[in-house]
């Protein structure tokens, strides 16, 4: 079995504030966005629930981009992929 690729995940400031000690940029392993978020949750328990809902899907007002393209949970990742988590325009 091949090891999942190492990828870079960039977190938004509003999410970092919810998980004290979480960095802006983190390297972890995952062959899909779904797996990368599981790896993120293993380090900061609960963080996956802030990015994903139970359908399961990326939350409606969160955007995840992989190497510049909007991604879903099943989007594949390659070694060195950059996964950017962004808060969308929302609120009032």
């Amino acid at each position: 079995m091949t090891e999942p690729p190492t990828v870079i995940v960039i977190l938004p400031g509003a999410l970092q504030r919810l998980f004290p000690g979480s960095p802006r940029r983190v390297e972890l392993a995952g062959s899909t966005v779904d797996e990368a978020l599981d790896a993120l949750d293993a380090r900061w328990p609960g963080i996956r629930d802030r990015i994903c809902d139970s359908t399961p899907a990326i939350r409606r007002h969160i955007n995840v981009f992989v190497d510049g393209e909007r991604a879903a949970l099943d989007t594949p990742l390659a070694a060195g992929s950059t996964v950017i988590v962004l808060t969308a325009v929302s609120g009032g």
Partner: protein, 360 residues
């Protein structure tokens, strides 16, 4: 012994805490907490002093926030707070009720969760959404929300919930099975002849009279009611009030005959205080007669509303009464409603007010 009185505010943009001493003459305000999330309900467990806040953020979803140091620091969790895959996801937490066997949380879309570990892990109380009426529950103006949680003071297996728009339900077995408790409450928004359904009423607030677990009071979209048998039968107590519409109700801490309401002008006429003049209405005889309390409240050009969880009493000997407005003002009475002061203004829209009395 020093006494601290804390008013716990849930607002559209975070939790706030107003604090005073037993005299309740001057107040300090701190916040916003909870990363300015919309906080629908902030409440303390009076046995431990732990503060819990239920809310939901458009980006990050629902969570229960928790502070064990009177609001200085907070953590949050929603672990286990999920419906099965494929169901509409939970948007926000709307109500929290601490008790000896743990915490209950009511959520949107309407459902119930329980935590046995002070809000870290949540378990779905599935029996409520298994009720055969569930497929007919309709969202009200605030969404399909479970906003009222009333626990029996001596029996952990008994619980009443209020759902907009489904009505009141009661369980006697810890949440496995539920029975509608809406008989006698109107649904004026239904066609003529269908105004007293078994479920589908728009309950706005449900409270229990102190020391009388069978006595419940209810502010409904369509009237004010009292039940003396745990909600099996409701009787109107709206005669003498300026309207049949309002959101909050607050019970006295010790007198089961005393109740506070804040009627608004009507559901289709603006939903603000009647004639732009603010008044809390108090009964001392379980709803038979009412007195309007206006001393210190604005009597001209007041076009605010007060939402379903935004009025509360404290437990001091002469009870304090408090309410927060949709326009971000907080009013306090330290003499059971006879006189009022505005103790904060320009806050975000206030969604809930609860009290905590701490004796150091």
């Amino acid at each position: 012994m020093a006494t601290r009185v804390l008013l716990l505010l849930g607002t559209k943009k975070g939790a706030f805490i107003a604090e005073s001493d037993a005299a309740r003459r001057s107040w300090t305000l701190r916040g916003p907490y909870c990363e300015t999330w919309p906080m629908n309900h902030v409440i303390a467990d009076p046995r431990s002093g732990t503060i819990y806040g239920g809310g939901g953020n458009e980006w990050f979803g629902p969570a229960v926030w928790k502070s064990t140091d009177f609001g200085e620091t907070w953590t949050h969790s929603s672990a286990g707070m999920a419906y099965p895959a494929g169901d509409e996801p939970i948007k926000a937490v709307w109500s929290i009720a601490p008790g000896p066997d743990g915490l209950y949380a009511g959520v949107q879309p309407a459902g119930l969760f329980h935590s046995a570990d002070e809000g870290q892990i949540w378990r779905h109380v599935e029996g409520l959404r298994r009720h055969p009426s569930q497929q007919h529950w309709q969202p009200g103006g605030g969404g399909l929300i479970l906003h009222s949680l009333v626990r029996h003071p001596h029996d952990d297996r008994q619980l009443w919930v209020g759902i907009s728009t489904a009505g009141v339900f009661h369980t006697a077995d810890g949440g496995d099975t539920w029975e509608p408790r809406n008989r006698g409450t109107r649904a004026d928004f239904m066609p003529e002849g269908q105004n007293y359904p078994e479920v589908g009423q728009c309950v706005h607030c449900l409270v229990m009279a102190p020391g009388m677990p069978d006595r419940l009071y209810q502010q409904n979209h369509c009237g004010m009611y009292r039940s003396d048998d745990g909600g099996k039968r409701w009787d109107s107590i709206e005669a003498g009030l300026p309207s049949t519409f309002g959101f909050p109700a607050a019970a006295h801490p010790r007198d089961p005959e005393t109740l506070y309401l804040l009627p608004l002008n009507g559901d289709s006429t603006g939903r603000y205080v009647p004639d732009g003049k603010a008044a809390v209405w108090r009964t001392r005889d379980a709803g038979r007669t009412w007195q309007d309390l206006r001393n210190g409240l604005p009597q001209q050009n007041a076009y605010f509303g007060v939402l379903r969880q935004a009025m509360a009493t404290d437990s001091l000997e002469t009870a304090g009464v408090y309410f927060g407005t949709s326009s971000g003002a907080l009013f306090a009475s330290r003499d059971e409603g006879d006189g009022w002061n505005c103790i904060a203004e320009h806050l975000p829209s206030i969604l809930s007010v609860e009290t905590l009395v701490v004796k150091d």
